[in-house]
Subunit: 493 residues, 2 copies
């Protein structure tokens, strides 16, 4: 019996698997290794459906290092974790702006750029090079060898994964919005364009449709809701809000535009949750003075998602905006004034700001926020309604996404953005897209769970019909036209 | 549902196969093709165990051309057939000398050259380039496009396939003679180094061991003996003689050195079956004059396999050599004379030869031929003995190989090289290694048959023990020490 056949057969019989394949570039390594170690070696196996591939062979003491990289392929920000596959430890995580942003902050502009073959290739090359460089830098800084990366897991939305693979995006944005491929599966990392271990594999999380991508599948995996008996909700807030509802038996999902307020906060003063961002706001009920904290405890440069929600909630509770979200100048003539024909709230005066300019919130910003919160609530209402559930039946409420990373559920509830449920069921879970990708690297059962999620999930097209519009109109009030839905919210009018 | 997923699912459900994979480079071709043809397209599928791969997609009218190439990777001569995969027709067959020959006419010298990585790479590149060029030339001459070749089937012995793939050959020639790999399976043709259709596949016939290669598996497939109820023998004569015995239920095989006489004929005057070769010899019983024919009907340049066997048989029958194979000068003093201390037979005088030199056969040549015929017979005797059969139970006797291409069984039997069986059971079948590779290109059931052959075949190590040596000694007489085994052979002594 030949060396390769002997190894394959042994694995086949020991693991009781139908097909074993030894990577071709091991053919010339194996014979000597076997003889040097008296036919005792260690193998790194990778399964692709029924087929088990021997990716690498080692002396019986095994490899010193096996690393994996988990990637969240966000359209604005990307994240990368280097993971020790032997210990399961996350060695380091890095966040970076997507290098495609110069070709469009929003993905539609990037898709436009990708209409030509050159543009498509350019966008693909950009992000590929960036990720390769970041992996290299991460390995260098940790004194690890990039050739010891054997596995990459990647989660991103449908558009981002299409751009990453150089796939045509033209059909994604045209009715009936058909992706080229949803079940992306496993590729050879070198085929995709990465230089890692020569036999490294890359798994890209499957998409469910054009507007529901692998990043959310990864999120469902991360929070584990598809394995729980209790019913959970997962919301991932960005430009789009993705909402998933369900448990181990069923999952429904939908996605809808949450409005720009939810991405980088409100137009003028909004910024991502980074140093200098106001992340917490409190208004003193008697003095109506503003208290706030900033990330890094430096003079404020702007306000991030959690800050803007706190601010709006506090304004409402203290009667500085009315139930329509309109600034009430009479309540605080010193802080609310008309500027350029617009009512404007001064949150931080110029002399206390890090920019030298006052940090202000206009009525336009507020209107935009109200539309976003109404959209979020309506999407939640629609999806629970679709399965004839009331919000009270929700046992866990996961809030994911960069925007939701520091969110205080209490503030979001005060605005009527989230339903008025016991505060302890809310879990702020951060970047679940990355967390799911990390879990897949270290948990052998995760792949079966992904397949289960893929099979169980029902995507609901958010039909913007009269019903939806009626619900949306009712949700545009603070906290809601039907105030009985928010018994725990009290405000001054 | 995404385009690729929809196609995969359709194929999965229609063909009832577990896994379908669309070649990655079709991802950007499929969406437009589907829309251009109202979602009616044609696919070229290729199965690898349970996995069906979509190699190419076409408009609903289908591809104009689908070609396959069958290759016999002989160590001396290689053969290549271009096959129309739609009609099953062989478009053309080409024979060529193996370009590795300058690095050793025999494979051991080539293995020696391949001991260094450079040598190994050099030998691989040589034959790869040669085959690529030959395929290109063949396509050009037929005005076909090489990119329309989607499948290559290749059969060769174990050493040749190792050299072709650039695999280490050092263990093949050292006890216990372990190949790197026997079950070679399917590779991407581009991975191997061929430039054909980008998704073209290459299947290399499996080996059974270091001395029993895929060329014989291909031969078994070509003659169909593994599907027949009757018991057959297949012999493939070259430097090694491979012998297979069996039927649909069982197969035993062995290989043994047949001696140099069987490769290029006898040393001095031997040549391959090509223009100028004497391929038929008859001695007039009364006049003892020689009649012969040459391939191409030109003045003789040498003598090929069938010619040398005819010649020896005729010499024996007419008493010009005795039962030990020794020339009897007294029987024909004009044609048998001592030259340089060796008895020498002049077959063609200088003035009738194409070389200007007489074509002569020496006692040394004859001795070599006798050893070869004895080896052949002994191998046959040993293998039938191993399954406790008598030669009479053999229903079909296939003679394969370049050497056997023009052989007359009657002559071989007269020498005692083949057993004395009814002449009509002998089938001279030519290059079965190539024929099996062609069959695999056009017959969907052939792959299952190969797997069956692989599983059923038992390789018998030819133990050169006292028994074997006794049989060999007995077989060194013409036709045999035990003349009762050859009742149909009559000779003058």
């Amino acid at each position: 019996m030949a060396d390769i056949d002997r190894l394959s057969l042994y694995i086949q019989e020991t693991l009781k698997v139908p097909y074993v394949q030894v990577a071709k570039n091991l053919f010339n390594i194996l014979p000597k290794l076997l003889r040097d170690h008296n036919y005792h070696i260690r193998c790194l196996l990778f399964s692709k459906e029924d087929l088990w591939i021997v990716l690498a062979v080692f002396p019986p003491t095994g490899p010193a290092h096996l690393f994996g990289a988990a990637i969240d392929l966000g359209s604005t920000q990307m994240a990368l974790s280097l993971v020790d596959l032997i210990t399961g430890e996350i060695l380091q995580t890095k966040h970076m702006d997507n290098s495609q942003i110069p070709f469009g902050a929003d993905v539609l502009t990037r898709i436009h750029h990708a209409q030509t073959l050159e543009g498509q290739a350019e966008l693909k090359a950009l992000v590929l090079k960036q990720l390769q460089t970041e992996m290299q830098t991460l390995c260098d800084s940790l004194e690890k060898n990039i050739n010891d990366i054997y596995l990459v897991t990647m989660a991103g939305n449908t558009i981002m994964t299409h751009l990453f693979l150089g796939l045509e995006t033209r059909w994604l944005i045209r009715e009936p919005y058909i992706p080229v491929v949803n079940r992306l599966g496993t590729f050879s990392a070198s085929d995709v364009g990465f230089s890692l271990h020569p036999n490294a594999q890359i798994f890209i999380f499957p998409n469910i449709g054009s507007y529901f991508g692998g990043d959310v599948i990864s999120g469902i995996l991360a929070v584990g809701m598809a394995c729980q008996k209790d019913i959970s909700v997962l919301i991932d807030i960005g430009t789009n809000a993705e909402v998933v509802l369900g448990n181990q038996d069923w999952l429904v999902a939908c996605a809808g535009a949450a409005g720009p307020a939810m991405e980088n906060g409100v137009s003028e003063i909004g910024m991502r949750a980074m140093v200098g961002a106001i992340d917490y706001v409190k208004i003193h009920p008697q003095t109506l003075s503003f208290e706030y904290t900033t990330i890094g405890d430096v003079p404020p440069l702007g306000i991030c998602g959690s800050g803007i929600i706190d601010l709006a909630a506090q304004l409402f509770i203290n009667g500085l905006i009315d139930i329509r979200g309109k600034l009430v100048a009479s309540k605080c003539p010193s802080c609310i004034q008309e500027k350029n024909g617009l009512l404007t709230l001064e949150l931080v005066p110029a002399n206390k700001s890090g920019t030298g300019q006052p940090i202000e919130l206009t009525q336009v910003d507020l209107d935009s926020l109200i539309r976003s919160k109404a959209a979020m609530y309506t999407i939640l209402e629609t999806i629970t309604h679709s399965v004839e559930m009331s919000p009270e039946q929700i046992c866990r409420f996961y809030i994911a996404g960069t925007f939701g990373a520091y969110i205080r559920p209490d503030s979001a509830i005060s605005l009527g953005m989230l339903p008025d449920l016991p505060r302890d069921i809310f879990k702020v879970v951060g970047n679940t897209s990355l967390a799911g990708a990390v879990r897949l690297l270290i948990d052998r059962d995760a792949m079966a769970e992904i397949v289960k999620i893929q099979q169980k999930i029902t995507y609901i097209e958010l039909n913007v019909n009269q019903d939806f519009m009626n619900r949306f109109s009712a949700a545009k009030f603070l906290p809601h036209t039907d105030t009985s839905r928010f018994p725990s919210v009290h405000w001054t009018s």
